[in-house]
């Protein structure tokens, strides 16, 4: 799968970045391509390119606050979870998404 994700937490200094690490680690392990944009207190980093969003099969918002510029993902399949879910069980999260994708297809 091609995945793009946004991570964001309330204060935006710690969980945002841990969630990013955990998602990348799990996605790579499961053989997916992933790009993760972090929306922290210092602003957005690794901002997703329009092309990556276009090619994405699924969008993950691992966010405890509103995602900025959500309109970029109009028409895409979006999975919304708390940052904690991405940190605690990134594998399980991806597994669930994989299953859902199969059902849709």
């Amino acid at each position: 799968m091609n995945i793009v994700a946004i991570t964001a937490c309330t204060v935006g200094v710690a969980h945002t970045y841990i969630a990013q690490d955990r998602l990348i680690e799990a996605a790579k392990k499961r053989g997916h391509s992933i790009y993760v944009e972090t929306q922290g207190t210092i602003g957005s980093e690794n901002v997703l390119r329009a092309e990556d969003i276009k090619n994405a099969d699924v969008v993950i918002f691992a966010a405890d606050v509103a995602v900025s510029k959500e309109e970029r993902f109009e028409g895409k399949l979006i999975v919304r979870v708390k940052s904690e879910v991405a940190i605690k069980q990134p594998d399980k999260l991806l597994e669930k998404i994989e299953q859902k994708m199969k059902e849709i297809k």
Binding site: C9, T10, V11, V13, A14, H15, T16, Y17, I18, D21, R22, G40, T41, I42, G43, D64, K82, S83, E84, I87, K88
Partner: protein
């Protein structure tokens, strides 16, 4: 990374006999206050406790990273406590906590360099190796050395 810029020796307490989350918060907040990182203990404690209500700050293997974002914080800094005995604390792996990094974040985050350092530090704290080395470090200098290494990508 120059970890000393966000974690000074004066804001570290080792093998403390503290019994609860609140005692840890009070101890570390006092360190930050004495070292002029924050201007009000009451306000900072309120911010830390508010953040606790939003979602869990315990990570894995006994490490927690509570944080307070407040106007009373003058500089982005971290205070660290290592406890004698683990205490109850909601965490990702449901383990009690014996190492606490309290993050002090100013309200108007203009100091991105230091905020980034704090983020790097937080990320490195998911690493089992660092966690165990911190647990067995015999003095504050060793702790600083370990975190210097850990923060490097």
């Amino acid at each position: 990374m120059k970890i000393e810029e966000i974690l000074s020796m004066e804001c570290i307490g080792l093998d403390l006999d503290l019994q609860s989350k609140q005692e840890v918060f009070e101890y570390l907040t006092n360190l930050l206050y004495k070292n002029q990182i924050i201007t009000s203990e009451t306000e900072f404690l309120e911010a830390v406790n508010y953040r606790e209500t939003l979602s869990m700050t315990g990570l894995v293997e006994g490490v927690a990273i509570p944080h307070g974002e407040s106007e009373c914080v003058k500089l982005p800094k971290v205070a660290y406590a290592r406890l004698k005995k683990p205490i109850d604390w909601e965490s990702l792996d449901d383990q009690p906590i014996n190492q606490v990094f309290l993050l002090a974040i100013p309200k108007d985050n203009k100091d991105n360099t230091h905020i980034k350092m704090i983020s790097e530090l937080a990320r490195s704290l998911m690493d089992s190796k660092i966690i165990h080395e911190l647990e067995s470090a015999t003095d504050i200098n060793k702790i600083i050395e370990l975190l210097k290494k850990g923060g490097k990508e």
